[in-house]
Symmetry: D2
Subunit: 135 residues, 4 copies
């Protein structure tokens, strides 16, 4: 059981559903990415601003388990925590129903920091990962 350190209320938009009438699998990556970037913003780190400074957070591996399909107008809570594993910043993420009773999907997202194209790090993320690990 994870201790999530950030939570974003979200809601399914109809255009995100495919011909099966459920949220298309690829859209979950949109949800997870948006949550990571909002988490960073909450720490005053802007993904697009980092990019302009030549610092890119790049996803190297994604694992997603789909448990209960998200349906049109479903409201859910997108949660995450962060661990540093070696040179990688790993996000553990999950989408729960608003009452936390249904797990729609969970994910493990490995990212690295590239500074001008070379493997690097950001002190802010290290600090956040340390704080999260201490919980």
């Amino acid at each position: 059981m994870q201790n999530y350190i950030f939570e974003l209320p979200m809601e399914v938009r109809d255009y995100e559903c495919d011909l099966q009438g459920i949220v298309n699998n690829a859209v979950y990556q949109n949800y997870f990415e948006h949550t990571r970037h909002q988490f960073l913003l909450s720490k005053e780190i802007s993904f697009s601003e980092l990019h302009r400074r030549g610092i890119d957070a790049v996803v190297v591996k994604v694992e997603i388990s789909f448990k209960h399909s998200l349906l049109p107008s479903d409201q859910f809570s997108s949660q995450l925590t962060l661990k540093k594993e070696g040179v990688r910043y790993v996000f553990y993420q999950a989408l729960f129903s608003r009452d936390n009773k249904i797990l729609h999907a969970s994910a493990r997202i490995e990212t690295v920091i590239l500074v001008n194209g070379k493997l690097g790090f950001t002190p802010e993320l290290d600090r956040i990962a340390n704080e999260a690990n201490a919980l």
Copy 2:
């Protein structure tokens, strides 16, 4: 090393690239899904037709490794093979540069067949998986 049994030539579209100037991670799932559905069509199995008959192929787990970013106008070859593992149909997929020298991304996609919402199977997919395993 996989023996892929299906190959689809594809090409990056500019709108699939994000503010980092590379194909957004979620779009890889679009590529993988489209390749699976084209593979099924090549076997005369239509995903949308299955859905109308109450048979749904549903993704339960996705693992994607991102190796070399796809860039605007990149042409690539999307390849797959299929194995049946227990009740699951597992697609092993990869995106290579056209000359097969660069691996952009690889994936393992677990799917199940739901018939009117209950776990089921399709004889056609079983036959295809058997043929692929025999290679």
Copy 3:
């Protein structure tokens, strides 16, 4: 100058931006559609529920003027009003900055109601359009 009858606070998500670093033009249609569907929901009309009952709201014409590009993390207000023009339900929509001082884009979206594939109408929408016209 329109009198808008519905307003939805929205915010740019990074994955909606393309390699120019601005929101891709197609995404504005996502914003406009989501706003219409949320408007309908606020009137207790569900687009997906209508579809299940054989009633489809279908867009027949779209006109969008792009004024000021939306940028990563921009917060904006998506506003709309509705008029019935002949058999068509026409939505007038606009995206403003939160303080209403910048107009990012405006749109005129013509829709028709198909009931089991034939041109129809819904009393609820007629009532709403009448109320909006009376403002």
Copy 4:
């Protein structure tokens, strides 16, 4: 009746369809954009390369008429021509069934060229527009 000067064979991908089982309206803008960029590439003009040089083609107005819904696996021909109207480069675009008998959608897309953020032009596009007008 337009004399189209460029044609791109395309095909609907299942993930582009929404819960109505038809291609979502916003996706038509993806089709139109991709066709414009492929057209430019056929003239050895790269949209992403232009962007890196500080030259951005920006859409200022879009008008789309939706005639016959595109369905899963539909194959179609995306066609365009280009006119210069004042400072604007205007693309007239249409999506036809492969036998040209069904018009799925038509569009008029106004674009301007921004050079380092200021209204500009590109000699290549002017030449192409002149050639197209002469047909």
